[in-house]
Symmetry: C2
Subunit: 186 residues, 2 copies
């Protein structure tokens, strides 16, 4: 299951390419000797520069405290190869199991944060908490992506998009309408 | 192009089904005799009850003032049948054209807000501005969905998911992992 494709740096202002189509992601975190992974689907790109991503992390998650206290996380992009791991991660608690071990995922050292990357994911976005003013009211965290790693292939990874009720939509065909865009709108 | 499929009410706490997979949406608005449509891809579900959606509407958009002043909008879900209209709407300005007329879309009266629905879209989510505290800093609006209409067919509409650079991913196959979920996690 471990992906062997080499990863390259992606300019952080281009991470929309992976997050904007709405895939579920795996968020890895660590604090005070504990680590965890959670599955997350409520997120949005917010800005190109700085590269901002907003997301909901409910207070009941074991990851909530790890992220709030460390003020860091990594947003990892799984593909369909990790479907059952992503579902399993979303239906277990880090209070009871070590999810890296349980789901046989490889924790790798990040470059700019202490939270671990998940090697088997197509992309890894190292994040620092940029704004927590909506955390108490909405569980809404605003992160700055400070480093991005992406696999060089495939160009269009098969990602998982949750629709509720246990059902996922998988990314499908790619269509270009580049010729219909004004250059500044691309 | 006009969709004739009847629409039914959807409980507002179930709108994640359409927004969580990350489709581009068409946001319609009206204020002081003006109306407009914009294409938007930076949004996230934030809560089930109340039904909250957060999204970025940049200050340069003609829709920005209409929405900020009226404190309302409708989030409409286009399918691939509206691909070129969605691209066209995103590459023109409401300051210069009436987008309903130009793109031959039908403005229908909403039930709970004054902004018009777009009839040809698969789903229409009537929204009221719930929190504007992050608008000045991030152009981030938090809306409450107060009424939702969805077409009865198809069950899984073919939606458009933007990846930047003029390229869209189209929703693909559907897979269920319902049996692997704990009931409260569905």
């Amino acid at each position: 299951m471990a992906r062997r494709t080499a990863k390259i740096d992606l300019p952080v202002d281009e991470i929309r390419r992976y997050l904007e189509p709405g895939p579920i992601v795996l968020v890895s975190s660590a604090h005070a000797g504990k680590r965890n992974i959670m599955t997350m689907g409520w997120h949005t790109v917010m800005e190109f520069t700085p590269s901002l991503v907003g997301c909901i992390i409910a207070g009941g998650n074991y990851s909530f405290d790890l992220i709030r206290k460390s003020r860091e996380c990594v947003i990892n992009l799984p593909t369909t190869a990790l479907t059952d791991a992503a579902v399993g991660i979303g239906n277990t608690s880090g209070a009871e199991i070590d999810k890296f071990e349980h789901f046989r995922l490889t924790a790798e050292k990040a470059r700019r944060v202490k939270a671990p990357l998940i090697r088997e994911c197509h992309a890894n976005l190292e994040c620092r908490l940029a704004d927590d003013r909506l955390v108490d009211r909405y569980n809404f965290f605003i992160f700055e992506v400070v480093k991005a790693h992406v696999a060089t292939a495939p160009k269009h990874p098969r990602t998982l998009h949750y629709t509720g009720d246990g059902v996922f939509m998988v990314s499908g065909e790619i269509i270009s309408r580049r010729s219909l865009f004004r250059p500044q709108m691309l």
